[in-house]
Symmetry: C2
Subunit: 374 residues, 2 copies
């Protein structure tokens, strides 16, 4: 629908896909992982280090940004890219998920959602039209349709109602989306864990037509097995020539398993949130750097990792920083985890291109037994 926003599928290995999304702010190599920059910052990391990790795109949260500093201020700054100093693509969620999970909802009906801010209690009324126009003010490279997210577990009836409302909101989102070259709009498939609802949701969204299709309402507590059951059929019924985005996912093995089922894009707070609590991802599994066994381990977290911490510091030093509650521990581990995730995506893309992804995925998931909880 937008001339310069396009997805080019370059290769496949089984259901895993290698591609490139072309946008007004540059290319996104897929499968892609988007670090989460909730409030116009990927927490505790400078943009330069996100760039160096290899990330092509980050995610911003419409809900947080509309509350603080406000869409008008960001528009006045010249958009979110200029405001936060990030020149590559930005995807913004629509606010639907955070409205449901963070705010105090006053009223929800077919028109939209009335809620009060979790920060200062200010009242807001957000409709699909409002969400899309805020994302326009932000200048999002990829705008997400406004949807209704319900908690897990949900009955068939509740899932159906939310799916139908989300579809109607997707329709209104599309109608209010102002096309600009190189900017895209994604629809969000809902329907909980019910195949019939998921299929109906996908079919209706495809009829409307979007630049990409997201899978919402997973990674909300159902567990990897049930999530993979949905992914066993859902990506296959989405258009081949559009990117598929699994929202809010996930752990490394979730990502590998979802890629093997045909998903192209991911976002998750796990690498940064884990970094702030002393958790590090490594090829040996997850590491809790506060563990006493690292006190005098003078080797790096990961010997072939190119992140600042692995090049310059030992696990013993990171252990000391974490035990001393030094913020530098959060800085170094968050950055390391973002590097780990981007390296994982790069490895995934490499193996798809070499047609070795299936065996890579199999051994990756089999090996996914963390040595320490993360």
């Amino acid at each position: 629908m937008n001339n310069n926003f396009s997805f080019s599928l370059q290769d496949c290995d089984g259901s895993a896909r290698l591609g490139v999304i072309n946008t007004a702010h540059g290319q996104i190599k897929t499968p892609a992982f988007m670090p989460v920059g909730t409030s116009a910052t990927v927490k505790v990391i400078k943009n330069i280090d996100i760039l160096n990790s290899g990330a092509d795109i980050i995610l911003g949260n419409t809900y947080h940004l509309m509350l603080r500093p406000g869409a008008e201020l960001i528009e006045k700054a010249g958009g979110l890219h200029k405001f936060m100093g990030w020149n590559k693509p930005i995807l913004t969620d629509s606010g639907g998920f955070q409205v449901m999970s963070l705010s105090n909802i006053r009223k929800i009906n077919d028109e939209g959602v009335e809620f009060s801010s979790h920060i200062d209690g200010t009242k807001y009324f957000v409709t699909p039209e409002k969400s899309i126009s805020i994302q326009y003010q932000l200048g999002s490279t990829i705008t997400m349709a406004f949807d209704e997210c319900i908690a897990f577990p949900a009955t068939y009836e509740d899932s159906k109602k939310a799916m139908i409302r989300s579809f109607e909101w997707a329709y209104r989102s599309k109608n209010n989306f102002v096309t600009r070259n190189g900017y895209g709009l994604f629809g969000i498939v809902q329907g909980g864990v019910y195949r019939e609802l998921r299929e109906e949701s996908a079919k209706k969204l495809i009829e409307i037509g979007f630049d990409g299709y997201a899978i919402g309402g997973l990674a909300v507590g159902e567990g990897q097995e049930i999530m993979f059951e949905v992914l066993d059929y859902l990506p296959a019924i989405l258009p081949k020539d559009k990117p598929r985005y699994l929202m809010g996912v996930g752990k490394p093995s979730d990502i590998v398993g979802a890629v093997s089922r045909g998903v192209d894009m991911f976002d998750c707070v796990i690498p940064t949130r884990s970094g702030r609590t002393g958790q590090a991802f490594t090829s040996r599994g997850a590491v809790n750097i506060r563990n006493a066994k690292y006190r005098d381990d003078f080797s790096p977290l990961e010997s072939d990792c190119k992140c600042y911490a692995c090049v310059n510091h030992s696990m013993a030093y990171l252990h000391h920083l974490a035990k001393s509650n030094e913020i530098l521990a959060s800085m170094l581990l968050s950055e390391h985890n973002i590097f780990y995730y981007q390296k994982l995506m790069s490895d995934i893309r490499y193996h798809i291109s070499k047609k070795t992804f299936t065996s890579f995925a199999k051994s990756f998931i089999a090996d996914d037994i963390a040595d320490e909880s993360c």
Copy 2:
């Protein structure tokens, strides 16, 4: 006393001195400001950014390091330089000041100080010999003699007692110091605000002979005027061919005023601590970035500053981060403040070399009216 540890006085302008300290870990251009790296990290800044700010040397705290992670572990790592990944000079204080200000002192006598850790209550007994041997384990480029710091205000009698004890401890510090090429030992002049005591302390320390002379017991609440009164006579009675270090100082105008009185080295937590509370130093005075007037100020903090924040971000963005309690605000402001301090030292050195320091200092101190409290 150590072949390769030397101070070369290159130029003077009035009492202000331009020099270079040669050490085993490289040169230190003076006047020098040492960022404080209490627990083996300058808080919330990576070493690479300290380096980029132009700092030649940082300070570590013996008291904190002996408590956590412990001198033995750092020695096992190959010393503090290797442990924290900083290859340029490190000065460590002797622990005297922190023992008095942070720990729970059980007993203090001529032998040393018995205290319990403020972290976990563990009992320690530190003597001058112990402090020097810990600093040896740390591999400090510049070791500080162990001294007794008393609170301000202090009577003449108390100041005299502490000065005499500090002198005796300085003697024992020197006796226990193991000389290594390019490593130095500094004595600390005490005596409170009493000229007679200060002169006696200086004279006795010079008789022992040190690689540099520190001025302790100032910046403890006496105010700039009284501090400058001491500095009006004290640096002049210290050896010309050794560096003079004013401990724990200070605000920019304190530094400029002390340099004009013949001081060569400084350390202070102000730039980093201020950064963590939303305060920034600029040529226009101190800025509280949380102030509402910066909400939509899209200019940088300081247009000719080379720090990451000033090159990449606006005050409006920094304001947003600080108001949102994002750690990135602390990261960017701490780094900016360290850049500001190093730029100040660089300007000071430039003006001494050009014999324009006196007028620079005069206008700098006259202009030192912060627009917002810092």
